[in-house]
C-alpha cells in the first residue's frame, strides 16, 4: 500500500498518468509542488480517482499557487500531516 506523491504538473509530465497505472485498492495520492495543478484538470479526473483512493493536497503548496478553495473530495494537509502519511503507509513513490 504505497502513498503516491505527485509533484509534477499533469499538463507537463506523465507523472499523474504513470501513477494511475500503478494504483491499487487502499492506496492514497498526495499532490505537492506543481502536482497541485492536477486540480485544474477539466475532465473531473480527480473526482473519479476520489471514488477509489484517498486524495490529499499539501496546503502551503496550493496557497503558493493561488488555490485556496479545495474541492471536498481532497483533504488539505500540512507538513506534519505529510510526515504522518508517510508513516501510515508502508512505502511511498515520488512521481
Amino acid at each position: 500500500m504505497p502513498l503516491h506523491i505527485i509533484k509534477q504538473s499533469p499538463f507537463d509530465s506523465p507523472s499523474l498518468a504513470q501513477c494511475k497505472l500503478t494504483l491499487s485498492a487502499g492506496d492514497a495520492i498526495l499532490f505537492i509542488e506543481n502536482g497541485i495543478y492536477c486540480l485544474n484538470h477539466t475532465d473531473s479526473e480527480l473526482q473519479k480517482l476520489a471514488e477509489n483512493y484517498s486524495l490529499y493536497i499539501l496546503s502551503p503548496d496550493a496557497e503558493t499557487r493561488g488555490i485556496s478553495n479545495f474541492p471536498d473530495y481532497v483533504t488539505a494537509i500540512d507538513y506534519e500531516e505529510f510526515v504522518k502519511l508517510t508513516i501510515e503507509f508502508s512505502a511511498s513513490i515520488s512521481w
Partner: protein, 119 residues
C-alpha cells in the same frame, strides 16, 4: 523584425526556476530598449494567477513580478487562450491586462520575431 525578441514561457511557477530567470531576462531586455514580446503558453499561464501567496520565506510572488514588467518597458504580454481553457483558468483570475491570442494569432505573432527563447 531583425532584432526583435520573443520569450516563450511554458513552465509552471515555483516548481522550477524557469519562470524567475525568464522574467529577469525579460526585464533586462526591456531596460536595454529591446523590442520584446513575452508569451505565456502551456503551463506558464499559471504564472499569471493573481491570488498567488508564496508560503516560503524568500520566494518571490511571481504575479507581482509580472505586474512590474511594465516598469521595465516590457509592454507586449500575450497569453494563449487555448492554454487557459485547457487549465480551466478564467480571465478574471489573471494579474495583468494581457492580450489573449487565439492559436492562429499566436503563431502569427511569434513568427514576427527573429530571436526566440523558450523557458
Amino acid at each position: 523584425m531583425s532584432n526583435s525578441i520573443a520569450i516563450i514561457n511554458r513552465s509552471a511557477p515555483y516548481g522550477s526556476s524557469h519562470a524567475t530567470e525568464s522574467l529577469d531576462l525579460a526585464m533586462i531586455a526591456g531596460t536595454f530598449g529591446q523590442d520584446i514580446s513575452v508569451y505565456f503558453f502551456g503551463d506558464a499561464v499559471f504564472q499569471l494567477i493573481e491570488q498567488q501567496k508564496p508560503q516560503t520565506k524568500g520566494v518571490k510572488n511571481l504575479s507581482k513580478v509580472i505586474k512590474s514588467l511594465i516598469f521595465f518597458d516590457v509592454e507586449n504580454i500575450y497569453v494563449c487562450q487555448k492554454s487557459m481553457q485547457e487549465r480551466s483558468i478564467q480571465l478574471s483570475e489573471l494579474c495583468v491586462d494581457a492580450t489573449l491570442l487565439s492559436n492562429d494569432d499566436l503563431k502569427a505573432s511569434i513568427n514576427k520575431h527573429s530571436r526566440i527563447m523558450v523557458f
